[in-house]
Symmetry: C2
Subunit: 469 residues, 2 copies
């Protein structure tokens, strides 16, 4: 596609353009096994530069792929062949911080971790903490509606975006959302762009809401038994609506061993674990709340004493390393992500175990069981037919239980075949209409998210789908 360009990209934009092999290789993939062959990387200098870039891409029919840290798991940031990657990692500043009103206006390329560091001294934090929080960007968190353990209490990224500045794929600029704490002004356009995986607009600024940092955050790791059965324990904790309980996570024994082998154990024993976080305004109150959690666990038959984990962030960092630990232990594999109504989690877990047994593939499970959100890892070549079967069986099981094909990671390339099954034809029609207006030439991140060819854009490059070595 890039070969047909008549105006060189270098003349169209003021920002740096790179075409050297190491730079292109550095942006050819994400945390999935997929790769693409981009033609260039551009680092735009300002909003005007992005408008110029979009105009150029429309004229020359070249796909654009906005990119943060490239930590997406389903190919969301894997470039179509010939695409120009729009590197926004340099747009990483806090532009404005309103501590009293608890919001920050930031560049989309700021790291989640860097944002936390910037606002912590003011007693604030940005609640979404995906497993990638040490690496991923806020723009990427917005693009995939990321969440993480604390979404049990705080919800996903969409709840924490107050406003966006964007350049749509048609070249028009807009400011979506408001600085006001409340608004009733028709359909919510902001929430269309959140989760749209760079397919509708390039986000140039994000205004995030911030939450008051709890005075005390106490981690608890609780040894539990078999995976199937833990769903009911988590559902009971969720149903009890315990004050201050902000996360109910699970890591199975196999994954815990991988973490322990790397010197980052979750607990003192060889066990599967529930990881809980309890917040409180004082240490004494956090203690009382933790005692209520322990009592609720006991009512579920979990009587082993919980191990305190004093630094809750360190607990989440270790939990977040589960994926990387399995990367090093297993290499490329199927990393799934589905969610079901919390009361049906055990049924899902049982079906995952059956699927793994029948395919004779080792299974590693972790996830946000307090929200019915499960990440099965199947240790098998992700480009193999077995992998395709296991992926399909996982999402079909979630759908059959009233759940969703993606709890947290998004759709990207890998989940695209299942979108219409969940949404139905009318919702897909509406999705396509939105895409058509925002990106009439289909230049923005084609081949992702939309189940229809139209959603893939005019140029509609086929995913290369090659596994990285």
């Amino acid at each position: 596609v890039g070969g047909t360009a008549r105006t060189p990209l270098e003349q169209a934009v003021r920002g740096e353009v790179r075409r050297d092999r190491p730079t292109l290789e550095g942006v050819s993939g994400d945390a999935s096994h997929l790769t693409g062959r981009p033609s260039a990387v551009v680092r735009p200098v300002d909003d005007d530069d992005i408008v110029a870039l979009v105009r150029w891409a429309r004229t020359e029919s070249v796909p654009l792929v906005p990119r943060g840290a490239g930590t997406s798991l389903d190919g969301e940031s894997v470039p179509a062949d010939g695409a120009v990657v729009v590197d926004l990692t340099g747009w990483n500043r806090v532009l404005e911080l309103a501590t009293d009103e608890r919001w920050a206006r930031v560049g989309p390329g700021i790291g989640n971790f860097a944002l936390q560091e910037a606002v912590r001294p003011h007693g604030l934090f940005f609640p979404p903490n995906p497993g990638s929080w040490h690496r991923s960007t806020v723009g990427g968190n917005v693009a995939t509606n990321a969440s993480g353990p604390r979404s049990f209490r705080y919800g996903a990224a969409r709840s924490w975006v107050r406003a966006l500045a964007v350049v749509f794929g048609n070249g028009a600029r807009a400011r979506l959302g408001t600085r006001s704490a409340k608004r009733s002004l028709g359909p919510d356009l902001l929430s269309l762009v959140v989760g749209s995986e760079g397919t509708l607009a390039i986000v140039t600024e994000v205004t995030v809401r911030l939450a008051p940092l709890p005075a005390v955050r106490r981690g608890l790791v609780v040894p539990v038994g078999a995976t199937v059965g833990t769903g009911a324990i988590a559902a009971r904790l969720a149903g009890a609506a315990l004050e201050g309980l902000s996360a109910v996570e699970y890591v199975d024994r196999a994954t815990s061993r991988a973490l322990a082998d790397e010197g980052a154990p979750l607990g003192p024993a060889d066990s599967a674990w529930l990881l809980l976080e309890v917040e409180g305004p004082t240490a004494a109150e956090a203690e009382r709340r933790a005692a209520r959690v322990v009592a609720e666990l006991a009512a579920s038959g979990v009587t082993a004493p919980p191990q305190p984990f004093d630094d809750a962030d360190e607990m989440w960092t270790r939990r977040g390393e589960s994926g990387s630990a399995l990367d090093r232990r297993l290499g490329p594999r199927v990393r799934e992500d589905v969610a079901v109504p919390v009361g049906r989690t055990d049924e899902l877990l049982a079906e995952l175990e059956r699927a793994a047994a029948e395919e004779r593939v080792p299974l590693y499970v972790y996830g946000h069981l307090g929200e019915g959100s499960v990440h099965p890892n199947f240790a098998v070549d992700p480009a193999s037919p077995v992998a395709a079967r296991l992926r399909e069986r996982t999402v079909r099981a979630a759908l059959a239980l009233g759940g969703t094909i993606s709890g947290e990671h998004g759709i990207g390339r890998l989940k695209r075949p299942f979108v219409e099954e969940e949404l139905g034809p009318a919702a897909v029609g509406l999705l396509d209409a939105v895409k058509r207006w925002c990106d009439p030439d289909g230049i923005l991140n084609p081949g992702k998210l939309y189940p229809t060819p139209r959603g893939g854009g005019r140029s509609a490059p086929s995913p290369s789908g090659a596994a990285t070595p």
Copy 2:
């Protein structure tokens, strides 16, 4: 428009059709001064009937106006001339209640109050509590993204809708949203329909999220002085992020007198009041939290002792009667609704007082000051040129302060001229594209919300705008 119909409505649908004058008059207006002249009222019996109705309306080019309790304040539910009003008040059942997962699937015509009554025995509540909560329907709350005092802590209706069943204006059915507690599946289509004021789809089912009912809810009414200056007190309370503080409301002295004259005083003295709600898991903890609120007030110079209001719901009922009390005292008037960043509320209040003084019109103010959300009432004929000037000055003041033309009530007919000023042309273009797909013939509630003629629908009837006697 109805006169051109060739297939009688009575043959197209199975539900009851009424054309008698009392029925038509009963649905000709809302809580604004506007009225329209509907041609019929239909009470559909099921989803199939609604699909048939939509098909009929498209063929015959007749506008449809979905209707709940008709408590909208800006003409949202005022029918276009010749429209068929779709009366959904009979769709008022709780269809499914999941107490452990804290959600309920309900008919859109169920009353907000009836829903609260149904779920309270299970220790749950539906947080949006607009002033109309004794009368308005959940479907209407969804259509206008309603909120109310507790949105200070809980947010507006959009945050509490998990799923919707809809029939779009193109006749297609969809289920939007998910039963899963979390999902990352592209743009949020559910949040397009919430707040769309019946212009995109007819909602046939609402799945609402429910919150655990706090064990203790304590109302506090605090006497305060002049209106300008109270914004800073409320902003300070909001900024302090006090645990358990769930509402920060204001009612000025003039409005409080109107309530006292009706035998429903907010407090024992002739004063303006801040109305606060504090929640706690126990009476002792609620007491500690209330003491922290009082200390924060003292730091703002508010040292008069707060009056406890033991039944917080009764406090909100009285506060909710402010509008009706002014109805009886003043008759039709300008009822405005804007919101600004909470730190700028006093600037807005000062401008409202200047505007009222310059136009020599009495001003009554109440609102959710903890969120910068203000309801000025100007005692003047709402159809007069003075009213138009005051409306315009109010919304322009809010926009100039970085706020919004509608904090809570929505757009309807009255705010339509100001939508593009707030959203900008690109967002309006996207809004129109959504409308075009959902309702290609413009049959759903034409003349509302959209600033462009296209958004008003093909038939685009002009608002009658006649004041009720």
